[in-house]
Protein backbone atom coordinates (compact mmCIF):
# COMPACT_ATOMS: atom_id res chain seq x y z
CA UNK A 1 0.00 0.00 0.00
CA UNK A 2 1.27 3.49 -0.76
CA UNK A 3 1.92 5.69 2.27
CA UNK A 4 -0.26 8.78 2.87
CA UNK A 5 2.80 10.91 2.07
CA UNK A 6 3.12 9.30 -1.35
CA UNK A 7 -0.59 9.66 -2.07
CA UNK A 8 -0.30 13.34 -1.18
CA UNK A 9 2.76 13.69 -3.41
CA UNK A 10 0.89 12.02 -6.29
CA UNK A 11 -1.93 14.54 -5.84
CA UNK A 12 0.51 17.46 -5.78
CA UNK A 13 2.18 16.30 -8.98
CA UNK A 14 -1.12 15.80 -10.78
CA UNK A 15 -2.39 19.19 -9.58
CA UNK A 16 0.78 20.90 -10.81
CA UNK A 17 0.27 19.41 -14.23
CA UNK A 18 -3.44 20.25 -14.28
CA UNK A 19 -2.81 23.88 -13.31
CA UNK A 20 -0.46 24.36 -16.26
CA UNK A 21 -3.01 22.86 -18.65
CA UNK A 22 -5.57 25.31 -17.25
CA UNK A 23 -3.09 28.09 -18.09
CA UNK A 24 -2.42 28.89 -14.44
CA UNK A 25 0.75 29.17 -12.35
CA UNK A 26 1.29 26.08 -10.18
CA UNK A 27 3.64 25.97 -7.15
CA UNK A 28 6.49 24.80 -9.36
CA UNK A 29 6.86 24.39 -13.10
CA UNK A 30 5.57 20.91 -13.99
CA UNK A 31 8.36 18.73 -15.36
CA UNK A 32 7.59 15.56 -17.34
CA UNK A 33 10.96 14.02 -16.63
CA UNK A 34 13.28 12.62 -19.29
CA UNK A 35 13.09 8.91 -20.05
CA UNK A 36 13.58 6.56 -22.97
CA UNK A 37 16.38 4.15 -23.78
CA UNK A 38 18.55 5.67 -21.04
CA UNK A 39 16.24 4.14 -18.40
CA UNK A 40 17.28 0.66 -19.52
CA UNK A 41 20.95 1.62 -19.73
CA UNK A 42 20.84 3.15 -16.22
CA UNK A 43 19.64 -0.21 -14.85
CA UNK A 44 22.30 -2.09 -16.81
CA UNK A 45 19.88 -3.96 -19.05
CA UNK A 46 19.65 -4.07 -22.84
CA UNK A 47 16.88 -2.40 -24.78
CA UNK A 48 15.79 -5.90 -25.76
CA UNK A 49 15.27 -6.81 -22.09
CA UNK A 50 13.50 -3.50 -21.52
CA UNK A 51 11.00 -4.33 -24.28
CA UNK A 52 10.52 -8.05 -23.67
CA UNK A 53 10.93 -8.61 -19.91
CA UNK A 54 8.22 -6.70 -18.00
CA UNK A 55 9.72 -7.37 -14.55
CA UNK A 56 13.16 -6.05 -15.55
CA UNK A 57 11.52 -3.13 -17.30
CA UNK A 58 9.52 -2.22 -14.16
CA UNK A 59 12.59 -2.49 -11.92
CA UNK A 60 14.49 -0.22 -14.32
CA UNK A 61 11.72 2.36 -14.26
CA UNK A 62 11.55 2.26 -10.44
CA UNK A 63 15.32 2.68 -10.10
CA UNK A 64 15.33 5.62 -12.50
CA UNK A 65 12.31 7.32 -10.92
CA UNK A 66 13.81 6.98 -7.44
CA UNK A 67 16.96 8.80 -8.57
CA UNK A 68 15.24 11.18 -10.99
CA UNK A 69 11.77 12.05 -9.70
CA UNK A 70 9.52 14.19 -11.91
CA UNK A 71 5.86 15.10 -12.18
CA UNK A 72 4.94 12.34 -14.60
CA UNK A 73 6.06 8.74 -14.39
CA UNK A 74 8.37 8.17 -17.34
CA UNK A 75 7.06 5.01 -18.94
CA UNK A 76 10.12 4.47 -21.07
CA UNK A 77 9.50 3.73 -24.69
CA UNK A 78 8.81 0.07 -24.88
CA UNK A 79 6.13 -0.19 -27.53
CA UNK A 80 4.81 1.17 -30.80
CA UNK A 81 1.26 2.34 -31.56
CA UNK A 82 -0.86 0.23 -33.83
CA UNK A 83 -3.75 2.33 -35.09
CA UNK A 84 -4.49 0.08 -38.08
CA UNK A 85 -5.59 -2.89 -35.98
CA UNK A 86 -7.32 -0.67 -33.44
CA UNK A 87 -9.48 0.83 -36.16
CA UNK A 88 -10.03 -2.56 -37.79
CA UNK A 89 -11.56 -3.80 -34.51
CA UNK A 90 -13.45 -0.57 -33.84
CA UNK A 91 -16.80 -2.35 -33.59
CA UNK A 92 -15.48 -4.32 -30.59
CA UNK A 93 -14.78 -1.58 -28.07
CA UNK A 94 -13.84 -4.05 -25.33
CA UNK A 95 -10.90 -5.14 -27.51
CA UNK A 96 -9.66 -2.05 -29.34
CA UNK A 97 -7.64 -0.84 -26.36
CA UNK A 98 -5.70 -4.10 -26.33
CA UNK A 99 -4.29 -3.28 -29.75
CA UNK A 100 -3.24 0.25 -28.82
CA UNK A 101 0.37 -0.49 -27.98
CA UNK A 102 2.42 -3.29 -29.46
CA UNK A 103 5.07 -4.38 -26.97
CA UNK A 104 7.82 -6.88 -27.76
CA UNK A 105 5.94 -10.10 -26.89
CA UNK A 106 2.81 -8.84 -28.69
CA UNK A 107 4.86 -8.28 -31.80
CA UNK A 108 6.24 -11.81 -31.60
CA UNK A 109 2.62 -13.02 -31.62
CA UNK A 110 1.21 -10.72 -34.30
CA UNK A 111 4.26 -10.14 -36.51
CA UNK A 112 3.63 -6.51 -37.45
CA UNK A 113 5.46 -5.63 -40.64
CA UNK A 114 6.06 -1.92 -39.84
CA UNK A 115 7.54 -2.42 -36.37
CA UNK A 116 11.18 -3.17 -35.55
CA UNK A 117 12.14 -4.38 -32.08
CA UNK A 118 15.57 -4.53 -30.44
CA UNK A 119 16.93 -8.04 -30.29
CA UNK A 120 14.61 -9.04 -33.13
CA UNK A 121 14.76 -6.98 -36.30
CA UNK A 122 17.39 -4.51 -35.02
CA UNK A 123 20.34 -4.62 -32.62
CA UNK A 124 19.49 -5.50 -28.99
CA UNK A 125 20.65 -2.05 -27.86
CA UNK A 126 18.58 -0.20 -30.47
CA UNK A 127 15.13 1.41 -29.95
CA UNK A 128 11.74 0.06 -31.02
CA UNK A 129 10.89 1.74 -34.31
CA UNK A 130 8.01 2.40 -36.65
CA UNK A 131 8.82 2.26 -40.34
CA UNK A 132 5.91 2.79 -42.71
CA UNK A 133 5.58 1.32 -46.17
CA UNK A 134 3.09 1.34 -49.03
CA UNK A 135 0.35 -0.97 -47.76
CA UNK A 136 -2.39 0.60 -49.89
CA UNK A 137 -2.19 1.28 -53.63
CA UNK A 138 -3.34 4.58 -55.10
CA UNK A 139 -6.24 2.86 -56.88
CA UNK A 140 -7.66 1.70 -53.53
CA UNK A 141 -8.68 5.14 -52.25
CA UNK A 142 -12.31 4.54 -53.24
CA UNK A 143 -12.47 1.36 -51.20
CA UNK A 144 -10.99 3.12 -48.18
CA UNK A 145 -13.44 6.00 -48.55
CA UNK A 146 -16.47 3.71 -48.90
CA UNK A 147 -15.89 1.87 -45.61
CA UNK A 148 -12.61 2.57 -43.77
CA UNK A 149 -13.07 -0.02 -40.99
CA UNK A 150 -14.00 -2.83 -43.39
CA UNK A 151 -11.15 -1.94 -45.74
CA UNK A 152 -8.60 -1.86 -42.90
CA UNK A 153 -9.76 -5.20 -41.55
CA UNK A 154 -10.06 -7.05 -44.84
CA UNK A 155 -7.15 -5.57 -46.79
CA UNK A 156 -4.65 -3.82 -44.57
CA UNK A 157 -4.49 -6.06 -41.49
CA UNK A 158 -3.53 -9.12 -43.62
CA UNK A 159 -0.88 -7.05 -45.44
CA UNK A 160 0.65 -5.56 -42.30
CA UNK A 161 0.30 -8.41 -39.83
CA UNK A 162 2.17 -11.57 -40.81
CA UNK A 163 0.31 -13.93 -38.49
CA UNK A 164 -3.12 -12.63 -39.50
CA UNK A 165 -2.34 -12.87 -43.22
CA UNK A 166 -5.04 -15.42 -43.90
CA UNK A 167 -7.98 -14.21 -41.80
CA UNK A 168 -10.10 -17.14 -40.65
CA UNK A 169 -7.29 -19.68 -41.04
CA UNK A 170 -6.24 -21.85 -38.07
CA UNK A 171 -3.00 -19.84 -37.97
CA UNK A 172 -4.89 -16.55 -37.61
CA UNK A 173 -7.28 -17.96 -35.00
CA UNK A 174 -4.33 -19.34 -33.01
CA UNK A 175 -2.68 -15.92 -33.23
CA UNK A 176 -5.76 -14.23 -31.77
CA UNK A 177 -5.95 -16.81 -28.97
CA UNK A 178 -2.27 -16.26 -28.11
CA UNK A 179 -2.79 -12.52 -28.30
CA UNK A 180 -5.68 -12.77 -25.81
CA UNK A 181 -3.67 -14.89 -23.37
CA UNK A 182 -0.72 -12.50 -23.53
CA UNK A 183 -2.96 -9.49 -22.98
CA UNK A 184 -4.52 -11.07 -19.90
CA UNK A 185 -1.02 -11.51 -18.42
CA UNK A 186 0.22 -8.08 -19.44
CA UNK A 187 -2.99 -6.43 -18.19
CA UNK A 188 -2.41 -7.93 -14.75
CA UNK A 189 1.16 -6.72 -14.88
CA UNK A 190 0.07 -3.20 -15.81
CA UNK A 191 -2.01 -3.11 -12.63
CA UNK A 192 0.99 -4.21 -10.62
CA UNK A 193 3.09 -1.53 -12.29
CA UNK A 194 0.49 1.14 -11.51
CA UNK A 195 0.49 0.05 -7.85
CA UNK A 196 4.30 0.15 -7.68
CA UNK A 197 4.42 3.61 -9.22
CA UNK A 198 1.78 4.88 -6.80
CA UNK A 199 4.14 3.83 -3.99
CA UNK A 200 6.60 6.32 -5.51
CA UNK A 201 4.01 9.06 -5.72
CA UNK A 202 2.79 8.71 -9.31
CA UNK A 203 -0.86 8.31 -10.23
CA UNK A 204 -1.45 6.45 -13.47
CA UNK A 205 -3.23 8.81 -15.83
CA UNK A 206 -5.20 7.06 -18.57
CA UNK A 207 -4.78 8.78 -21.92
CA UNK A 208 -6.50 8.52 -25.22
CA UNK A 209 -5.02 8.64 -28.68
CA UNK A 210 -5.99 10.39 -31.91
CA UNK A 211 -4.17 10.66 -35.22
CA UNK A 212 -4.64 13.40 -37.77
CA UNK A 213 -6.48 11.48 -40.51
CA UNK A 214 -3.92 12.55 -43.12
CA UNK A 215 -1.09 11.28 -40.91
CA UNK A 216 -2.83 7.94 -40.66
CA UNK A 217 -3.08 7.72 -44.45
CA UNK A 218 0.54 8.81 -44.87
CA UNK A 219 2.25 6.75 -42.16
CA UNK A 220 0.09 3.64 -42.15
CA UNK A 221 -1.31 3.25 -45.65
CA UNK A 222 0.44 5.11 -48.47
CA UNK A 223 3.87 5.98 -47.07
CA UNK A 224 4.93 9.63 -46.80
CA UNK A 225 6.58 9.98 -50.20
CA UNK A 226 3.55 8.53 -52.03
CA UNK A 227 1.10 10.61 -50.01
CA UNK A 228 2.94 13.80 -50.87
CA UNK A 229 2.64 12.90 -54.57
CA UNK A 230 -1.04 11.93 -54.11
CA UNK A 231 -1.79 15.46 -52.87
CA UNK A 232 -1.02 16.69 -56.39
CA UNK A 233 -2.20 13.70 -58.40
CA UNK A 234 -5.47 12.79 -56.63
CA UNK A 235 -6.31 15.74 -54.37
CA UNK A 236 -10.05 15.03 -54.18
CA UNK A 237 -9.56 11.41 -53.21
CA UNK A 238 -7.02 12.27 -50.50
CA UNK A 239 -9.41 14.83 -49.06
CA UNK A 240 -12.34 12.43 -49.14
CA UNK A 241 -10.23 9.71 -47.48
CA UNK A 242 -9.21 12.04 -44.64
CA UNK A 243 -12.86 12.96 -44.12
CA UNK A 244 -13.93 9.31 -44.18
CA UNK A 245 -11.36 8.46 -41.50
CA UNK A 246 -12.36 11.26 -39.15
CA UNK A 247 -15.41 9.56 -37.62
CA UNK A 248 -13.72 6.19 -36.95
CA UNK A 249 -10.69 7.98 -35.52
CA UNK A 250 -12.92 10.09 -33.25
CA UNK A 251 -14.89 7.07 -32.12
CA UNK A 252 -11.63 5.34 -31.23
CA UNK A 253 -10.29 8.33 -29.29
CA UNK A 254 -13.54 8.80 -27.37
CA UNK A 255 -13.50 5.17 -26.26
CA UNK A 256 -10.77 6.42 -23.92
CA UNK A 257 -13.51 8.03 -21.83
CA UNK A 258 -14.49 4.52 -20.71
CA UNK A 259 -11.18 4.21 -18.88
CA UNK A 260 -11.35 7.75 -17.51
CA UNK A 261 -9.13 9.48 -20.05
CA UNK A 262 -9.67 13.22 -20.32
CA UNK A 263 -6.72 13.92 -22.64
CA UNK A 264 -5.95 12.62 -26.12
CA UNK A 265 -2.37 12.47 -27.34
CA UNK A 266 -2.02 13.50 -30.99
CA UNK A 267 1.46 13.07 -32.45
CA UNK A 268 1.70 15.01 -35.74
CA UNK A 269 4.03 14.05 -38.52
CA UNK A 270 3.13 15.66 -41.85
CA UNK A 271 2.81 19.15 -40.36
CA UNK A 272 6.45 19.91 -41.07
CA UNK A 273 6.21 18.55 -44.60
CA UNK A 274 3.42 20.80 -45.80
CA UNK A 275 3.28 24.39 -46.98
CA UNK A 276 0.57 26.48 -45.30
CA UNK A 277 -1.51 26.11 -48.46
CA UNK A 278 -1.40 22.29 -48.40
CA UNK A 279 -1.66 22.20 -44.59
CA UNK A 280 -4.80 24.31 -44.54
CA UNK A 281 -6.41 22.49 -47.43
CA UNK A 282 -5.66 18.83 -46.65
CA UNK A 283 -4.34 18.41 -43.13
CA UNK A 284 -5.73 20.92 -40.69
CA UNK A 285 -9.51 20.71 -41.37
CA UNK A 286 -9.93 17.11 -40.16
CA UNK A 287 -7.36 17.53 -37.37
CA UNK A 288 -9.08 20.68 -36.13
CA UNK A 289 -12.51 19.05 -36.33
CA UNK A 290 -11.17 16.11 -34.33
CA UNK A 291 -9.76 18.36 -31.58
CA UNK A 292 -13.00 20.40 -31.39
CA UNK A 293 -15.28 17.39 -31.30
CA UNK A 294 -13.24 15.74 -28.53
CA UNK A 295 -13.30 19.00 -26.60
CA UNK A 296 -17.12 19.05 -26.82
CA UNK A 297 -17.03 15.61 -25.23
CA UNK A 298 -14.85 16.84 -22.38
CA UNK A 299 -11.55 15.58 -23.75
CA UNK A 300 -8.65 17.98 -24.21
CA UNK A 301 -5.75 17.28 -26.55
CA UNK A 302 -2.00 17.19 -26.24
CA UNK A 303 -0.63 17.77 -29.72
CA UNK A 304 2.99 16.93 -30.46
CA UNK A 305 4.01 19.37 -33.20
CA UNK A 306 6.86 17.37 -34.64
CA UNK A 307 9.74 19.16 -36.36
CA UNK A 308 9.25 22.80 -37.30
CA UNK A 309 5.68 24.02 -36.84
CA UNK A 310 6.53 27.71 -37.31
CA UNK A 311 4.67 28.10 -40.61
CA UNK A 312 1.37 26.93 -39.10
CA UNK A 313 1.35 28.61 -35.69
CA UNK A 314 -1.50 31.00 -36.45
CA UNK A 315 -3.85 28.09 -37.17
CA UNK A 316 -3.56 26.98 -33.53
CA UNK A 317 -5.34 30.20 -32.58
CA UNK A 318 -8.43 28.96 -34.43
CA UNK A 319 -8.97 26.61 -31.48
CA UNK A 320 -10.72 27.97 -28.37
CA UNK A 321 -8.48 29.12 -25.50
CA UNK A 322 -7.75 26.31 -23.05
CA UNK A 323 -8.16 23.60 -25.71
CA UNK A 324 -5.11 21.71 -24.51
CA UNK A 325 -1.34 21.35 -24.73
CA UNK A 326 0.94 22.28 -27.63
CA UNK A 327 4.08 20.17 -27.33
CA UNK A 328 6.82 21.58 -29.55
CA UNK A 329 9.87 19.83 -30.90
CA UNK A 330 11.96 22.28 -32.92
CA UNK A 331 9.76 25.36 -32.84
CA UNK A 332 11.20 27.57 -30.10
CA UNK A 333 8.86 27.47 -27.10
CA UNK A 334 9.64 31.15 -26.43
CA UNK A 335 8.37 32.01 -29.88
CA UNK A 336 5.33 29.77 -29.31
CA UNK A 337 4.61 31.62 -26.06
CA UNK A 338 4.60 34.98 -27.83
CA UNK A 339 1.86 33.75 -30.16
CA UNK A 340 -0.10 31.39 -27.89
CA UNK A 341 0.14 32.93 -24.39
CA UNK A 342 -3.16 32.73 -22.52
CA UNK A 343 -4.54 30.38 -25.17
CA UNK A 344 -2.47 27.19 -25.28
CA UNK A 345 -0.48 25.40 -22.61
CA UNK A 346 3.04 25.10 -24.05
CA UNK A 347 5.20 22.06 -23.49
CA UNK A 348 8.83 21.31 -24.39
CA UNK A 349 11.96 23.43 -24.13
CA UNK A 350 14.78 20.94 -23.53
CA UNK A 351 16.64 19.94 -26.69
CA UNK A 352 17.62 16.28 -26.33
CA UNK A 353 20.70 16.87 -28.51
CA UNK A 354 21.86 19.37 -25.90
CA UNK A 355 21.31 16.95 -23.02
CA UNK A 356 23.45 14.42 -24.88
CA UNK A 357 26.20 16.78 -25.99
CA UNK A 358 26.37 19.63 -23.48
CA UNK A 359 27.82 19.99 -19.97
CA UNK A 360 26.12 20.23 -16.55
CA UNK A 361 27.14 23.90 -16.16
CA UNK A 362 25.79 24.89 -19.56
CA UNK A 363 22.55 22.97 -18.97
CA UNK A 364 22.07 24.67 -15.60
CA UNK A 365 22.49 28.06 -17.23
CA UNK A 366 20.17 27.10 -20.09
CA UNK A 367 17.35 25.87 -17.82
CA UNK A 368 17.67 28.98 -15.65
CA UNK A 369 17.23 31.28 -18.64
CA UNK A 370 14.50 29.17 -20.22
CA UNK A 371 12.39 29.04 -17.05
CA UNK A 372 12.94 32.76 -16.48
CA UNK A 373 11.23 33.42 -19.79
CA UNK A 374 8.65 30.63 -19.86
CA UNK A 375 7.32 30.45 -16.30
CA UNK A 376 5.74 33.88 -15.80
CA UNK A 377 2.00 33.71 -16.41
CA UNK A 378 1.88 29.92 -16.11
CA UNK A 379 0.66 27.55 -18.81
CA UNK A 380 4.06 25.92 -19.32
CA UNK A 381 5.17 22.30 -18.92
CA UNK A 382 8.91 21.65 -19.06
CA UNK A 383 9.79 18.60 -21.10
CA UNK A 384 12.45 17.23 -23.45
CA UNK A 385 11.59 18.01 -27.07
CA UNK A 386 11.62 14.28 -27.92
CA UNK A 387 10.54 11.56 -25.50
CA UNK A 388 13.60 9.39 -25.89
CA UNK A 389 17.01 9.98 -24.35
CA UNK A 390 19.47 7.54 -25.92
CA UNK A 391 21.39 5.01 -23.85
CA UNK A 392 24.68 6.89 -23.74
CA UNK A 393 23.22 10.18 -22.47
CA UNK A 394 25.65 11.36 -19.73
CA UNK A 395 24.00 10.82 -16.34
CA UNK A 396 25.61 14.00 -14.96
CA UNK A 397 23.79 15.98 -17.67
CA UNK A 398 20.47 14.41 -16.76
CA UNK A 399 21.09 15.16 -13.08
CA UNK A 400 21.97 18.78 -13.92
CA UNK A 401 18.58 19.29 -15.60
CA UNK A 402 16.64 17.80 -12.67
CA UNK A 403 18.62 19.89 -10.17
CA UNK A 404 18.07 23.05 -12.22
CA UNK A 405 14.30 22.44 -12.21
CA UNK A 406 14.35 22.32 -8.39
CA UNK A 407 16.58 25.41 -8.19
CA UNK A 408 14.81 27.67 -10.68
CA UNK A 409 11.36 26.13 -11.12
CA UNK A 410 9.50 27.49 -8.09
CA UNK A 411 6.83 30.15 -8.57
Amino acid sequence: MPSPEMLKLAEERAARYRAAIELKEPDRVPFTGMGGDVVAAYAGISSYEYCFDPEKSLQAIIKYLKDFPSDRPIGGMSGIGNAITQLAFLDYPDLTGLFAMVDGPTNDILGVDYIRFPGREVDEYSSPQFIGAEYMKADEYDELIADPVKFLFEKIVPRTTRNLRDLGSPAALATMARFGMHKARSGAFMQKQAAELLKLGYKSEPASFFLAPLDFISDNLRDTVNLVKDLRRYPDKVKAAAEALLEPMLKLALLGKNIGADMAFIPLHLNEYLSPKLYNEFYWPTLKEGILRMLQEGMKSQVFFEGWHDAHMESVLELPAGWGVGYFEKTDVRKAKKILKGHTCIMGGIDVGMVIASTPAKLDEYIKELLGEMMPGGGFILSPNIGNLPRETPIENIAAVYEAVEKYGKY
Binding site: G36, D37, R116, E121, V122, D123, Y125, S126, S127, Q129, I131, T224, V225, V228, K229, L231, R232, R233, E272, Y273, L274, S275, L278, G307, A311, K330, D351, V352, G353, M354, I356, A357, S358, I386, N388, L389, P390, R391, E392
Partner: protein, 209 residues
Protein backbone atom coordinates in the same frame (compact mmCIF):
# COMPACT_ATOMS: atom_id res chain seq x y z
CA UNK B 1 11.80 25.38 -74.17
CA UNK B 2 14.45 25.35 -71.46
CA UNK B 3 12.77 28.26 -69.71
CA UNK B 4 9.40 26.52 -69.82
CA UNK B 5 10.91 23.34 -68.41
CA UNK B 6 12.57 25.31 -65.64
CA UNK B 7 9.35 27.12 -64.80
CA UNK B 8 7.06 24.09 -64.81
CA UNK B 9 9.59 22.11 -62.74
CA UNK B 10 10.01 24.81 -60.11
CA UNK B 11 6.22 25.37 -60.06
CA UNK B 12 5.75 21.63 -59.35
CA UNK B 13 3.77 21.05 -62.56
CA UNK B 14 4.84 17.44 -62.92
CA UNK B 15 2.95 16.52 -66.09
CA UNK B 16 4.07 19.61 -67.95
CA UNK B 17 7.71 19.29 -66.86
CA UNK B 18 7.87 15.66 -67.97
CA UNK B 19 6.15 16.46 -71.27
CA UNK B 20 8.57 19.29 -72.14
CA UNK B 21 11.59 17.23 -71.09
CA UNK B 22 10.49 14.36 -73.36
CA UNK B 23 10.20 16.78 -76.28
CA UNK B 24 13.47 18.53 -75.54
CA UNK B 25 15.64 15.41 -75.42
CA UNK B 26 14.70 14.66 -79.02
CA UNK B 27 16.35 17.90 -80.22
CA UNK B 28 20.07 18.30 -80.95
CA UNK B 29 21.94 18.54 -77.64
CA UNK B 30 18.57 18.32 -75.93
CA UNK B 31 19.47 15.66 -73.37
CA UNK B 32 22.32 17.76 -72.00
CA UNK B 33 19.99 20.76 -71.91
CA UNK B 34 17.38 18.77 -69.95
CA UNK B 35 20.01 17.63 -67.46
CA UNK B 36 21.35 21.16 -66.94
CA UNK B 37 17.87 22.65 -66.65
CA UNK B 38 16.68 20.07 -64.16
CA UNK B 39 19.79 20.58 -62.05
CA UNK B 40 19.16 24.31 -62.12
CA UNK B 41 15.53 23.71 -61.17
CA UNK B 42 16.52 21.51 -58.24
CA UNK B 43 18.93 24.18 -57.05
CA UNK B 44 16.12 26.75 -57.24
CA UNK B 45 13.76 24.43 -55.31
CA UNK B 46 16.45 24.06 -52.65
CA UNK B 47 16.86 27.82 -52.50
CA UNK B 48 13.10 28.32 -52.12
CA UNK B 49 13.11 25.72 -49.32
CA UNK B 50 15.86 27.50 -47.44
CA UNK B 51 13.98 30.78 -47.92
CA UNK B 52 10.95 29.21 -46.21
CA UNK B 53 8.75 29.36 -49.33
CA UNK B 54 8.91 25.65 -50.07
CA UNK B 55 8.52 22.76 -47.64
CA UNK B 56 9.53 19.11 -47.43
CA UNK B 57 6.64 18.05 -49.65
CA UNK B 58 8.04 20.22 -52.47
CA UNK B 59 11.51 18.71 -51.98
CA UNK B 60 10.01 15.23 -52.25
CA UNK B 61 7.90 16.10 -55.30
CA UNK B 62 10.89 17.78 -56.99
CA UNK B 63 13.11 14.76 -56.28
CA UNK B 64 10.50 12.48 -57.78
CA UNK B 65 10.22 14.65 -60.90
CA UNK B 66 13.99 14.74 -61.23
CA UNK B 67 14.23 10.95 -61.04
CA UNK B 68 11.39 10.49 -63.55
CA UNK B 69 13.03 12.82 -66.07
CA UNK B 70 16.53 11.40 -65.55
CA UNK B 71 15.25 7.91 -66.23
CA UNK B 72 14.72 8.74 -69.90
CA UNK B 73 17.37 11.47 -70.16
CA UNK B 74 20.52 9.83 -68.78
CA UNK B 75 20.58 6.96 -71.36
CA UNK B 76 20.71 9.64 -74.09
CA UNK B 77 23.76 11.38 -72.65
CA UNK B 78 27.37 10.75 -73.61
CA UNK B 79 29.69 9.75 -70.74
CA UNK B 80 31.51 13.09 -70.62
CA UNK B 81 28.29 15.07 -70.33
CA UNK B 82 27.56 13.90 -66.78
CA UNK B 83 30.23 15.64 -64.73
CA UNK B 84 30.70 14.88 -61.04
CA UNK B 85 31.95 17.42 -58.52
CA UNK B 86 32.90 14.73 -56.00
CA UNK B 87 31.89 11.41 -54.44
CA UNK B 88 29.94 10.79 -51.23
CA UNK B 89 29.33 7.54 -49.36
CA UNK B 90 25.89 7.88 -47.75
CA UNK B 91 24.01 5.72 -45.25
CA UNK B 92 21.77 5.54 -42.17
CA UNK B 93 23.78 4.54 -39.10
CA UNK B 94 23.52 1.36 -37.02
CA UNK B 95 20.32 0.86 -35.07
CA UNK B 96 18.19 3.18 -37.22
CA UNK B 97 16.06 1.74 -40.04
CA UNK B 98 14.75 5.02 -41.49
CA UNK B 99 15.52 6.09 -45.02
CA UNK B 100 13.25 9.01 -45.89
CA UNK B 101 15.69 11.80 -44.96
CA UNK B 102 18.59 10.01 -46.61
CA UNK B 103 16.59 9.49 -49.80
CA UNK B 104 15.40 13.11 -50.07
CA UNK B 105 18.98 14.28 -49.57
CA UNK B 106 20.36 11.74 -52.03
CA UNK B 107 18.42 12.90 -55.05
CA UNK B 108 19.15 16.57 -54.31
CA UNK B 109 22.84 15.80 -53.88
CA UNK B 110 22.90 13.89 -57.16
CA UNK B 111 21.15 16.78 -58.88
CA UNK B 112 23.90 19.07 -57.61
CA UNK B 113 26.52 16.90 -59.31
CA UNK B 114 27.67 14.78 -56.37
CA UNK B 115 28.23 11.11 -57.16
CA UNK B 116 26.35 9.43 -54.28
CA UNK B 117 27.10 5.86 -53.21
CA UNK B 118 24.08 4.86 -51.10
CA UNK B 119 25.08 1.98 -48.82
CA UNK B 120 21.73 1.56 -47.06
CA UNK B 121 20.24 1.70 -43.55
CA UNK B 122 21.01 0.25 -40.08
CA UNK B 123 24.67 -0.07 -41.08
CA UNK B 124 27.33 -1.70 -38.91
CA UNK B 125 30.21 0.78 -38.42
CA UNK B 126 32.54 -1.37 -40.52
CA UNK B 127 30.29 -0.96 -43.57
CA UNK B 128 31.25 2.70 -43.70
CA UNK B 129 34.94 1.79 -43.43
CA UNK B 130 34.64 -0.78 -46.22
CA UNK B 131 32.78 1.66 -48.47
CA UNK B 132 35.37 4.40 -47.87
CA UNK B 133 38.18 2.01 -48.79
CA UNK B 134 36.34 0.85 -51.89
CA UNK B 135 35.01 4.15 -53.28
CA UNK B 136 37.59 6.62 -51.92
CA UNK B 137 35.02 9.41 -51.49
CA UNK B 138 35.77 12.99 -50.52
CA UNK B 139 32.61 13.03 -48.38
CA UNK B 140 30.79 10.70 -46.03
CA UNK B 141 27.14 11.42 -45.19
CA UNK B 142 25.60 9.83 -42.11
CA UNK B 143 21.87 9.95 -41.58
CA UNK B 144 19.70 9.23 -38.55
CA UNK B 145 16.14 9.97 -37.53
CA UNK B 146 15.89 8.71 -33.97
CA UNK B 147 17.91 9.92 -31.00
CA UNK B 148 19.98 6.75 -30.65
CA UNK B 149 21.58 7.73 -33.96
CA UNK B 150 23.70 10.31 -32.16
CA UNK B 151 25.76 7.70 -30.33
CA UNK B 152 25.77 5.47 -33.35
CA UNK B 153 27.26 8.26 -35.49
CA UNK B 154 29.84 8.98 -32.79
CA UNK B 155 30.97 5.37 -32.72
CA UNK B 156 30.99 5.08 -36.51
CA UNK B 157 33.30 8.10 -36.73
CA UNK B 158 35.56 6.59 -34.06
CA UNK B 159 35.78 3.37 -36.06
CA UNK B 160 36.62 5.35 -39.22
CA UNK B 161 39.34 7.17 -37.23
CA UNK B 162 40.75 3.88 -35.88
CA UNK B 163 40.94 2.62 -39.46
CA UNK B 164 43.15 5.61 -40.26
CA UNK B 165 40.66 7.07 -42.73
CA UNK B 166 39.30 10.10 -40.89
CA UNK B 167 41.78 12.59 -42.33
CA UNK B 168 41.00 11.55 -45.91
CA UNK B 169 37.35 12.55 -45.75
CA UNK B 170 34.91 15.21 -44.62
CA UNK B 171 31.88 13.99 -42.69
CA UNK B 172 28.44 15.57 -42.76
CA UNK B 173 25.69 14.30 -40.47
CA UNK B 174 22.02 14.74 -41.23
CA UNK B 175 18.60 14.03 -39.83
CA UNK B 176 15.82 15.38 -37.72
CA UNK B 177 17.68 15.35 -34.40
CA UNK B 178 21.14 16.71 -35.29
CA UNK B 179 22.46 20.15 -34.38
CA UNK B 180 25.69 22.09 -33.93
CA UNK B 181 26.11 20.60 -30.45
CA UNK B 182 25.55 17.08 -31.76
CA UNK B 183 28.03 17.68 -34.60
CA UNK B 184 30.73 18.70 -32.13
CA UNK B 185 29.87 15.79 -29.86
CA UNK B 186 30.20 13.14 -32.57
CA UNK B 187 33.20 14.74 -34.28
CA UNK B 188 31.72 15.50 -37.71
CA UNK B 189 32.59 18.44 -39.98
CA UNK B 190 29.10 19.72 -40.79
CA UNK B 191 25.46 19.10 -39.92
CA UNK B 192 22.10 19.62 -41.57
CA UNK B 193 18.55 18.91 -40.46
CA UNK B 194 17.19 19.39 -43.95
CA UNK B 195 18.29 18.23 -47.38
CA UNK B 196 18.71 21.66 -48.96
CA UNK B 197 21.11 22.82 -46.27
CA UNK B 198 22.84 19.43 -46.46
CA UNK B 199 23.53 19.80 -50.17
CA UNK B 200 24.71 23.40 -49.81
CA UNK B 201 27.15 22.42 -47.03
CA UNK B 202 28.32 19.31 -48.90
CA UNK B 203 29.28 21.50 -51.85
CA UNK B 204 31.10 23.84 -49.49
CA UNK B 205 33.02 20.89 -48.02
CA UNK B 206 33.99 19.96 -51.58
CA UNK B 207 35.21 23.51 -52.10
CA UNK B 208 32.62 24.06 -54.80
CA UNK B 209 30.87 27.14 -53.43
Amino acid sequence: MRDELLKSFVDMDEQEAVRIARELIETDGGAAAVLDTCKEAMEEVGRLFEAGEYFLSELIAAGDMFNQIMEFTLPKLQGGEVASIGTMVLGTVLGDVHNIGKDIFKVMAEASGINVIDIGIDLPHEKFVEAIKEHKPELVGMSCLITLGVDSMKRTIEVIREAGLRDDIKIIIGGGRVSQAVMEHVGADAWADDAARGVRLSKELLGKE
